[in-house]
């Protein structure tokens, strides 16, 4: 077929490729240009400045603070999501009465968008009337309501906890797929050989799940690195920048402080980092070829 119509395959492909190049490629090119020029607060591009924007960015303590905070944020969200999701996925892959209902309930936060999730938790954690305080006071765990998101020491750990809950459904789904791909006869053979359930887990389940574990880790790092909506809605990076991660600081720099050239430089760095992560993911995923 391909010899008979050599033009056709490309012809069907080209509209999509052009669209992607236009919507993703052009803004990227524009950011590259902006990152080495001076740009005023109305986004008018001025003269060439070389690496000055990058140097100014690297001299900005808030940039480094949000950089380190992003590292902490991504590490803890990823670790937390996996620590919670792996046992849950294992439980959900067992056969027990009501399993399909349990699955739906555990996965149903997936239907709540990140921004809506942020809105709900922002209210639940509110110091005046939030339900978390209501429960804590009802149980006698605290006498006074706690201002979770308005206290700078508390806000970031709390945001991490919310971030973890937001990614649990997707992570559970990845592990469920992994567990479903392990053939039952492996377990049957192990049982006939008299293996204990613990050694079955460490010798069969874990090694076969490893590719999915890799994918879950990389996906969660990418996802948490990009999680603008949840942090923005929850705290806007506050109080006093104590919850700013790179994406929220980038947004403030561009759209609130009007330092568009430095923000462009920051975008380029972040894009490079994201691309490296995606490449890592692509290698894991291509190796696995689940579909």
């Amino acid at each position: 077929m391909s010899e008979r119509r050599p033009i056709l395959p490309m012809g069907l492909m080209i509209p999509s490729l052009l669209l992607v190049l236009w919507i993703i490629g052009y803004p990227l090119y524009d950011l590259l240009i902006m990152s080495v020029h001076s740009v005023d607060r109305f986004a008018q591009v001025g003269g060439f400045v070389g690496s000055a924007n990058f140097q100014k960015l690297f001299a900005d303590p808030l940039f480094w603070a949000s950089f380190w905070r992003t590292c902490i944020w991504s590490t803890f969200v990823t670790l937390g999501a996996i620590a919670l999701s792996l046992p849950v996925a294992i439980l959900l892959s067992q056969d027990f009465p009501g399993r399909s209902i349990a699955r739906v309930i555990v996965l149903c936060p997936w239907a709540i968008s990140a921004s809506m999730f942020g809105v709900v938790w922002r209210w639940a954690l509110n110091g005046n009337g939030g339900v978390v305080n209501a429960v804590l006071m009802e149980l006698g765990l605290t006498k006074e309501p706690i201002y979770f998101l308005a206290t700078s020491d508390l806000a970031f750990p709390i945001a991490i906890a919310v971030g973890i809950l937001a990614v649990v459904p997707l992570t559970v789904i990845i592990f469920l797929a992994g567990l479903a791909s392990i053939q039952d006869d492996l377990y049957d053979a192990a049982r006939i050989d008299g293996a204990s359930s613990f050694s079955t887990f460490t010798n069969i389940t874990l090694p076969l799940l490893k590719p999915f574990l890799n994918i879950a880790i990389v996906i969660n790092i990418i996802y948490s690195f990009n999680s603008f909506a949840i942090v923005w809605v929850l705290t806007q990076g506050g109080p006093a920048n104590s919850t700013d991660i790179l994406v929220t600081y980038l947004y403030k720099m561009a759209f609130q402080f009007g330092r568009i050239d430095q923000a462009a430089a920051m975008s380029i760095i972040m894009f490079g980092f994201l691309l490296a992560l995606i490449t890592l993911y692509a290698r894991f995923a291509m190796k696995e070829r689940v579909t």
Binding site: M13, P15, I23, L92, S113, A134, P145
Partner: protein, 278 residues
């Protein structure tokens, strides 16, 4: 005896899952109980878990005072247009990728795989400037265009992995029966591809409906806001937030998606796995 053991295992599993079951339902319970609270209950001290009496006022207020119907209409226009446009671009591309092996197809595969994972937030300044230069600021069309650009790679991936499972013979058989290539596609291939196209449509719709950073940046006034964006507007920039109205709006925004999720649960989970673990 056997039944007994199964029952016990069920009890233990449910007990172990209980914390996550509670956390999974928690956002929905917060939305519902807050939406049914009166303004007086909202800031009662000590704070209340449940409303003192059911108050449906906020469910009314979001329609007349907040004009949430308009936000839903905007959201529908954006999500339906994005879905239709994405499929128009993606179906031919996916067909091409699934059926023809050309020299560039390996590179195209990698290109699509990478672009489908790029999130708009790192490119947002460039996107903003491009839309402004085209005179499409605060314009639903700009959002539709941007969302389509970011959805198309994922849609192509998902569709082509399914198209590959459809036997090539069906089109060849149609060709032998004298149908021309295009009619063969339309009458034979497309009906078989419909389930995959449907699931991809559901995914694209949900992505567009729930998207935040692009709509937040490209739509500048409350009148243009989509449903998801409007809920965030109701929370931010106000001196005192009417949380019962916010949660009423959040329910209206989220329930359709939850409905779609429960109805298409198996397909969505399967698709997510494909999307996440390609």
């Amino acid at each position: 005896m056997r039944d007994n053991r199964r029952y016990r295992r069920g009890m233990i599993s449910w007990l172990l899952l209980l914390p996550l079951v509670v956390l999974g339902l928690f956002p929905y319970l917060v939305m519902l109980s807050t939406a049914l609270k009166s303004a007086k209950d909202l800031f009662a001290y000590p704070p209340r878990i449940l409303p003192s009496q059911l108050d449906f006022a906020s469910m009314m207020v979001i329609w007349d005072k907040v004009d949430f119907a308009r936000a839903i209409a905007n959201g529908m226009v954006v999500s339906v247009s994005t879905t239709v446009l994405t499929l128009l671009f993606a179906v031919p591309a996916a067909y091409s990728l699934a059926r023809f092996q050309t020299r560039g197809s390996g590179a195209i595969r990698v290109f699509l795989m990478v672009t489908q994972m790029i999130s708009p937030v790192v490119l947002i300044i460039g996107i903003f400037r491009m839309m402004a230069a085209m005179g499409m600021m605060n314009d639903l069309r700009a959002l539709i265009l941007a969302l389509t650009g970011f959805s198309v790679a994922f849609a192509v991936w998902m569709l082509q992995s399914y198209f590959k499972t459809l036997p090539r013979e069906i089109e060849e058989a149609a060709a032998i029966d004298g149908a021309n290539w295009f009619n063969g596609l339309r009458l034979v291939f497309l009906p078989l591809a419909m389930p995959a196209i449907g699931v991809t449509a559901v995914f694209t719709f949900i992505t567009a409906w729930t998207e935040f950073v692009l709509s937040y940046t490209l739509l500048r006034t409350p009148e243009m806001a989509t449903a998801t964006l409007k809920v965030v507007y109701l929370v931010s920039g106000q001196y005192s937030v009417a949380w019962n109205e916010v949660m009423a709006a959040a329910i209206v925004t989220t329930l359709p998606i939850l409905g779609i999720f429960i109805v298409f649960q198996k397909h969505i989970v399967g698709g997510l796995v494909q999307g996440a673990v390609k």
